[in-house]
Symmetry: D2
Subunit: 381 residues, 4 copies
């Protein structure tokens, strides 16, 4: 057992703060315990109120299950769907849609760039898609999709559902279901909520729920909205045993979110994310995602000449864990999550650890420079 | 916050002992952390070795997901399947199979009785089923299916898979995958493993895996064995983020199981379960399941004349939580789980609490009588 | 690490309930942290209000330190003091007084009996004692002193301080400082408060504080009331670093005491203590303390013919830890604590475990008999 | 409840790492539990082996009790003692010695300076002191005494005991009992051991133990070595109830110390302490203690012109708690502890938080400068 704390700054699971971890440790209650029912109700109503949706589904599972729930409940075989892909998770959505027998068109681009909204517009004017999907932030590239503009575009296509994969964004990046015309927002617990992994979370608009009705019985069972709706409206009912401790953990996370204010939370992520990216660039690390398409929740930083994935090993010795590159960027970049319930001191720690790591790898480093840039950006604005 | 402990003796979640709860509280590690990968590997290999299967799948989800995984990966549309139902969860399996477009035959009987093996035999001789499913212990009735005999019977039908729903039995009732000819065994974490809810666990035999290959691509994505197989063989790979803390909790539970010995654990459940049932009968409570078909993990006890579900409210005040009756037995019985990591003292507590509760409800009680019967059965044999 | 809980039923430390243990785990705050200062203030004011004293001292230490604080701050060399001793801890008080150079008279009696109040009266009429000390409950014998009567007697001797060692009684046995004319009440955290060991707690009446003033500077430093008084009146001041986590634990214990009500707590101990003693006698174990002088917080039960201290080893295997006999009763009895934050189910567990232990030692046992007597006494009155 | 962690960097209690806090939360064992006895033995033998003493005493209490134990057990009324004082805690030692009726000579100097060894030498040549005491690191000033040189000096005075108050140094600053000729080393748990407050720890050399024998019975009881010696040699014996959880916490701390190596630990404190002081000076904060007399465990930094104690309030908002100045330096400096189980990232956090705090108070700050100096000192040497 290690004496000191290791800071897990991968794009999920993100650090779980102590008050949330305390919820994980509690004696598991009966899921029909009146106090637990009240807690679960609170979670559901908080999720609906904060994000402004008609319904929300909180189910034991991972983000992958969320994706499947989104698709299975809104599209049926042969339905045309447009998948905007900015990387691995966009491609996964396409694969999932194909698995479901949909007619899938994919709009993708070079990793690190964002698909221009005009291209989406063109596609939409050529075919009557039943849904457009987009990964708000693709962790493989750190690219953020222009959600607001896509929402506006889709406003003109009332029969096309707008499905947003928020796994690496929700609770960190601005997502307002009503205002942005989102029909399905899907995510998981272990990202910007700062809860351990194990919960799939899916919000649905009225339009999405109507679509669900329209498509009738589906072959999926565990992923079926219709099976969970009664429970989400009255958690004293049963379909599957809820993961009691994870729901308590999510409740605690939502308490922090309400205290902070959701908009303030988005703002915090935006300001700090930008500052981190400036700091990384100042140290000499390029960000994969192009300016204007960078996430506030994650930064994928390319290793400079002469540095390889040994970087991550050394960084772990310095107390910080980051993720490696995916696909074409394996060994070429590291992926740094900076979302959820983390504070300035933890971000300073991260930047300083990166500097120390580069130094140990014989890369020229001026200690404190990254911290300087980061704080100048945060404190002097 | 309550000063004293409430003993949650429903048929799941079962009491989570402190060493397991400590795992839930740990700082969540990166799922590619070498230590976590090792932990996950240990869990997988323990599950395979202890139950004697070719493969096992450990996935964020509930028992309902396990059921869907079992069916989706082994049967395709129009396949004939025989569902043996001893209550709510047997019926649910039938419903799930229908949802999947299977040709479903159901063998059921009066609640509390077990379907005679001869009836199953007859069915099997009349139709070439692709699978037979049975709920080992149905929590709605507390009935235990004659697993060993069914296994022997199915031995003569090599094309018919034997699918066992072990949600309320696995790790408490004898289930040996190879010896008993089981092809799929499915369960969840919050029952006889004594881990909080949130994990679906599914074992598969070679025959089941061959069937999976044969049926080709399936429409389910998250539930697809093929997606998880690479991870179960090498947990450093990724399909969906594993619920890190729950896997640690399961690992700790498996450590206790290995220390105790799996057969000794089965024996413990058997001896104590029988003793509890004798004790309940001695107090004046009839057991719904008929003699010979009673589970070792759960007892569904009918309220005597004059007692209704107020019983459960008062029992909670006495420190013990049990579940209510389902379907036709709502308000007519309570369901008492006695599986997992519980000790004699907790069972004495339960019996004594039941006596005190009956006393408070003006039912004639001789305090200590149930404890007497329970311990006579355990200690004097 | 054990799978199941071991119930520590010695006369201290007593079982620490989970909400109190959670306080032990918290990140230690600065002792000048405003929140901690408030918490400490709350503890002090609760202790004063509940027991009705002028001052209280809460200091890192054990009950032995409490004893020394009591004596050092109220008596000076050559002062005559009368020590009423009902066993080991009474004798220890005498030894401590001798160490301090006092003129010590000891009134003792056969272990298990109580010194008659008349004997005390006689002593008091013969000599002008500066203080009378008594151990309210002596854990070596389980004897309870007649506190109320002693208080009344001392009412006629206004120059004689009444010093009560409440280590094994406070928060379990009735002790009202004003009403009973107590001048010093001393105790420790790990007994009927149900807090881990590490805190010495001493209450002082106005009379005791005046005595402190009168005797001037004392040679003890850490034990000096005068050093701690400023801190007890304003915990933002410093003399020694307070044991932050233990004070939080005590605060939580006091919350439970306030919720329960102090008188109800005393009543609970009285009713249950008596019922336990009846149960033990019914099983065949004699109680050392004579009827009328039995504590509500502890029972010292003599082993029947043929049983020796192996009993405690076997009982531990049955899940319950008790203490062994002291002095002349080593190997002849066990000491069972039944004080603090324990509930009926834990007491049933204890009685049932004792029965099982006797059975395993070939002593004739009717299982459940002790539980029967215990509950008949509690539930049918 | 706060979402994020507050780093308590006062000169004690210091941050308690999670593995140590887990020990605090454990169910309290009986102090005669064989496992606990073994744990306590391990603690005692580790303390003796690591520091090289004949005996050690681990008792519920605070550092103030340690001081009293040191004096009470080695000096008797009228004994001449020389107290070297570098601030508040040196003066307290003088006060304590006076309380004990000793003939006290005090050698002190301006706060921040160290008493020259020559002055001590002169004193020693003029009077036959029974003991010389020195506070190794006085937290009021951050001054470190020249322990090694004092030890050498005392080597020539074999009848004079060398008593070292290590409250703010032990486990952080080099203290080797045999090599340095220390006779009594006293400390507490909440400083460089990184354990919550509540334990007094006192080591004694053979010479000190012989002195104890010589002085015969003492009036102190709880502080008496003779009462505790049997327990320290065999923790299955009883004098006062040991603070079980704190002893477990200390055991865990000792495990980390053994893993790190005691000399490496001293070196770590030295290197980092110096680097912190350079960084603080670089930012513009003067250190009270003069160069050559600076502790490695604490830095007392004077506020620059225009900054007052509001600094500490703002710093707390930035996530770090430090202590205020004492006596003449109230409001004029802050006291920063940097000892125990803290890592580089926490120290970077501290320095960066101080910069942000100064910036918020309109003091000219170049963000990252302190971090730069700190890391240059640590990484480039």
């Amino acid at each position: 057992m290690k004496m000191n704390r290791e800071l897990v700054m991968i794009p999920g699971p993100t650090p779980v703060t102590e008050p949330i971890r305390n919820e994980m440790e509690r004696e598991t209650a009966a899921f029909k315990d009146p106090n637990f029912i009240e807690d679960f109700q609170q979670v559901i109503s908080d999720l609906k109120n904060l994000w402004g949706s008609s319904e929300v589904f909180v189910v034991a599972g991972s983000g992958t299950l969320s994706m499947e729930m989104a698709i299975s409940n809104t599209l049926k075989k042969s339905d045309p769907v447009l998948v905007i892909s900015h990387g691995f998770f966009g491609d996964r959505m396409a694969e999932l849609c194909e698995r479901k027998g949909l007619e899938v068109d994919v709009l993708s681009c070079e990793w690190g760039k964002a698909v221009p909204v005009e291209e989406v517009e063109k596609k939409l004017s050529n075919k009557n898609y039943r849904a457009v999907t987009v990964t708000h932030v693709d962790t493989s590239t750190g690219t953020k999709a222009p959600l607001e503009e896509l929402g506006k575009l889709l406003d003109k296509h009332q029969d096309t559902l707008f499905i947003v994969d928020g796994v690496c964004s929700t609770a960190g990046e601005p997502e307002f279901i009503n205002e942005m015309g989102i029909d399905i927002l899907l995510t998981a617990s272990q990202k910007a909520f700062g809860v351990p992994p194990g919960l799939a979370i899916v919000w649905a608009s009225d339009k999405a729920l109507k679509r669900r009705e329209k498509i009738g019985e589906i072959s999926e069972y565990y992923a079926d909205f219709n099976k969970w709706l009664p429970i989400m409206n009255d958690p004293s009912k049963y379909f599957g045993t809820p993961p009691v401790n994870l729901i308590w953990a999510l409740k605690k996370s939502l308490e922090f979110i309400k205290t902070e204010g959701l908009k303030e939370r988005f703002k915090r992520h935006q300001v700090r994310g930008k500052a981190i990216q400036k700091a990384l660039e100042g140290i000499g690390l390029n960000i994969l995602a192009e300016e204007g398409a960078r996430a506030s929740t994650i930064s994928n930083a390319l290793y400079p000449e002469g540095i390889d994935d040994t970087f991550r090993k050394v960084l772990k010795e310095e107390g910080v864990v980051v993720a490696g590159g995916l696909g074409p960027y394996a060994d070429k970049l590291f992926r740094l999550g900076h979302m959820g319930n983390i504070d300035i001191n933890e971000l300073v720690t991260v930047i300083s650890s990166i500097e120390r790591t580069l130094f140990r790898l014989d890369y020229p480093v001026e200690f404190g420079k990254g911290v300087n840039i980061f704080l100048d950006n945060i404190m002097r604005n």
